[in-house]
Symmetry: C2
Subunit: 355 residues, 2 copies
DNA sequence: AGCTAGCAGTCGAGTCTACCGAGTGCCAGC
DNA sequence: GCTGGCACTCGGTAGACTCGACTGCTAGCT
C-alpha cells in the first residue's frame, strides 16, 4: 500500500578525520562480515566469507582485506586466532553506505497497515499499542514518546465534585489528551459553588495552552474564586512537573538477547535505565530533530547504552514533530530491518494521528 | 506511627494430608536453614547451623533432623553431599509458623509514611508511585492493580469537540478516574449540537455505573440523538473491553536476581509474562479475596511462576476491597520483610484513598 | 601489482585427570 | 536420645592435553 520508503539516514557521529574511502572489494568484505555476524553471532572468519559469498577471491585475499579493515578500525578480533566482528564504526559504515531499503517484508507491511486501519483508539492506547507493534516487528524493546501536552490547547475545563471537600479538575486538550488533578477544597464548597467555579474556570482557560495559563480573574464570589484559584494552580503545577508520556514495550526482549550485551548484568542495567522515565524521555527528545536516526554503541553518551543501538524516528502530525518512536537493541542488530520498521511505523503513526 | 501490623496470613495450599506436627527442635532447624539460605543463597550444611545458631546440639544431631525434614519434604539436597535448601513446602511452613512480625525497620516505616503523607496526586499517579515504593522497599518487582472502573459511578459526562467530525467523550468517575473515548461523528455536527448532546448525555448517564449504562433516550433532535447514541455506545464499548489498570514496577530486579530463578531465560519468561496485562490482572484478581496472601513456587498454577513467590494484599477503601498490590520475587526471598512491606503499604494505600 | 597457496603459529574451547573439601549417613558409645 | 567419629560421595577447581578454527606471512604465480 504505502510507497517505497526512502530512508534519509542522518549521520550521527561527526566523524572528524576523513578516512580513505573504502576500496570496493573491502567494502563488500565489511558488509559480508556485518551481515554474517548479525546472522550468526559468531566471529566470522575469512574462509566463511570467501566461500559462501561470491566475491571471487580466495580466503587469503579476504584475510588481507580484513587486516586492512581492522587497521582502519572497522573490525576487531575478540582474540588472536578468532574471526572478526564489526566495531561500532564498522556498523556505522554499514548503515551509511549499504542503505538500500528492502522495505518491510510483505507480511510485516500488512501487519502494520492492518494495525493502523483498524479501529481508532484514545491517544494513550494508540501510542502504547504502537510500541507493542514495533516491539513485535523488530523483536527488540521499543520506546514511544507521546506529544507533550503543554503545547496543546485546552478545549474544555471542568470541575467535578467527588466527595465533600474533594474534587477533580479535568482539562481536555485539543490533541485528545486529558489532564486531571485532585483538588482538596477547604470549607467544603457546595455543588453550586463548584459548578459556578467550573464555568468560570472554563471561560478563563479555554483556548490557552497548559504551559501558558492566564492568571485567574476574580468573579466577585469569594468561595468560587477560591476554587478557581486552586484548580488553576493545580493544573499549572501538574504540567510544570510533567514529562512527555512514555511507553516502553518489549523489555523482555532485552533479557532474551542478553548474550549480545556485554555482561549478564549489562542487560539488568539497561532494564533499570528504561524504568527511569525522565532519563529516557530526555534521551529521546535530545535526538528528536535529526529525523530517522541510528545511534550505535559508544555513539551514545550513556554508559549503559554502550552495547546498544538506538533506532529512532520522529512522527509528524500536521507538519509538526510531536514525538518519536524507536527501538533499542544490541549493536548486533539487523539495521536494515530495524530502520524499515521504525520508518514505516512512524510515518503511519503520524498519518493516523492526522485525521 | 502505625500500630504493629497483625499479619493474618491465609494458607494458600489446601495441604491435603496432615503431616505430623514438627517437633520443636526440628522446626528450629528448618527455620535456621531457611534464614541461612535466604541470606547466603548457598545450600546450608549441618555444621553451619550447629555452630552459628544456638541450638545447643551438635552437627550430627542437626544432620539427623535434616534427614527427617528431607523425608517429610521440607528440604532437599541439590545433590548428595551438598547442604540442604528449602522446598516450597519448607518455605510454606516457615511463613505459616514463624510469623512474628518484626514490622518494617524504622527507616522503611518512615519512608512509607512520608510517601503517603506527602502531596496527594491523581489516582493513576498514586498507584504507579506506590508500585515503585514497594519495589524499592522490597527490592523485588511489584504489581499494583487499580480499582475497576465499572463499579464506580459517573459523576460527569461531557462531549468535547476536537476537530470537525472528531470529538471526545469524557466520563469522570466517583473514584477519581477518567474514562474517555474518541468519537468519529458523521455529518460534522455543529458545536451547538455537540453541546446539547453533552448536556443530554450527562443528564442521562450521571449517577450510573459504567457497567450499567442506561440506554439512551431520544430528545427529539435527530442530530443530537445521534451524537448521544454514539457517545454512549463508545463509553459502553470501552468499559466492556477493559481491564483493571495495572502498574508494574521494578522489573529490572528480576534480571538482577536471575541466579535465583531456574535458568537464564526463566527470568526472561517472567518478564514476558509481566508484559501481558490481561494475564497478570486475572492472576492477581483471582487471589483478591484471600487477604494478605503468599503464593510460593509451585503453588502458582502458571508454569512461569514455578520459581517465584508472590506476596499480595488487597487494599480496602470504605470497607470495600478495590484492588490489590504485591510483589513478585524468587522463592528464596525474605518473607518476613516482604510481608511486612506489602501489609503496611496496602493498609496505608487504602487509608490514603479513603479521604 | 595483485592474487593465491601453503605453512607455521596462536589461542579458545573441550576433555580428562587428579585432588580437595564440604557435607552426608551411619554406627557405636555415652 | 545425643554425640563423636569415620567412611563415603560428589561438585568444583586446577592443570595438562588435544583439537580446530583462525590468522599472518612469505614465496610464487598471473
Amino acid at each position: 500500500m504505502a510507497p517505497d520508503i526512502t530512508i534519509p539516514v542522518s549521520d550521527a557521529g561527526d566523524e572528524g578525520q576523513a578516512r580513505p574511502p573504502l576500496d570496493e572489494r573491502r567494502a563488500r568484505v565489511l558488509r559480508a562480515v556485518v551481515e554474517e555476524y548479525v546472522a550468526t553471532a559468531q566471529p566470522v572468519g575469512s574462509q566463511t566469507i570467501a566461500t559462501s559469498r561470491e566475491l571471487g577471491v580466495s580466503s587469503a585475499t579476504v584475510r588481507n582485506d580484513m587486516t586492512v579493515l581492522e587497521r582502519e578500525g572497522y573490525l576487531v578480533q575478540p582474540h588472536t586466532s578468532a574471526g572478526r566482528i564489526p566495531t561500532d564504526r564498522g556498523y556505522r559504515f554499514f548503515v551509511d553506505h549499504f542503505e538500500r531499503a528492502p522495505g518491510l517484508p510483505p507480511a510485516q507491511r500488512r501487519t502494520v497497515s492492518d494495525f493502523f486501519t483498524s479501529a481508532h483508539r484514545a491517544l494513550e492506547d494508540l501510542l502504547h499499542e504502537t510500541g507493542q507493534l514495533l516491539a513485535n516487528l523488530t523483536q527488540h524493546a521499543s520506546v514511544v514518546v507521546g506529544p507533550a501536552s503543554d503545547a496543546a490547547v485546552l478545549r474544555s475545563v471542568q470541575i467535578v465534585s467527588l466527595q465533600p471537600g474533594l474534587a477533580l479538575v479535568v482539562g481536555v486538550l485539543s490533541n485528545g489528551a486529558v489532564e486531571k488533578e485532585v483538588l482538596h477544597l477547604e470549607g467544603e464548597p457546595s455543588e453550586g459553588d463548584l459548578a459556578r467555579a467550573g464555568t468560570a474556570l472554563n471561560a478563563q482557560l479555554h483556548g490557552s495552552t497548559l504551559a501558558g495559563l492566564p492568571v485567574s480573574e476574580p468573579t466577585g464570589d469569594l468561595v468560587v474564586d477560591r476554587c478557581v484559584l486552586v484548580a488553576r494552580d493545580a493544573l499549572a503545577a501538574r504540567v510544570a512537573g510533567q514529562l512527555e508520556p512514555l511507553y516502553v514495550s518489549g523489555v523482555s526482549r532485552i533479557a532474551m538477547e542478553q548474550g549480545s550485551y556485554g555482561t549478564v548484568d549489562g542487560a539488568a542495567r539497561l532494564l533499570e535505565l528504561l524504568e527511569h522515565q525522565a532519563v529516557v524521555v530526555s534521551l529521546v527528545r535530545g535526538l528528536l530533530d535529526h529525523g530517522l536516526i541510528v545511534r550505535i554503541g559508544a555513539e551514545n553518551e550513556r554508559e549503559e547504552l554502550r552495547d546498544c543501538s538506538l533506532v529512532l524516528a520522529p512522527y509528524v502530525v500536521e507538519g509538526e514533530v510531536v514525538g518519536s518512536i524507536g527501538i533499542l537493541g544490541p549493536t548486533r542488530m539487523d539495521y536494515h530491518r530495524a530502520l524499515a520498521a521504525v520508518a514505516t511505523v512512524s510515518q503511519q503513526l503520524g498519518r493516523s494521528l492526522h485525521t
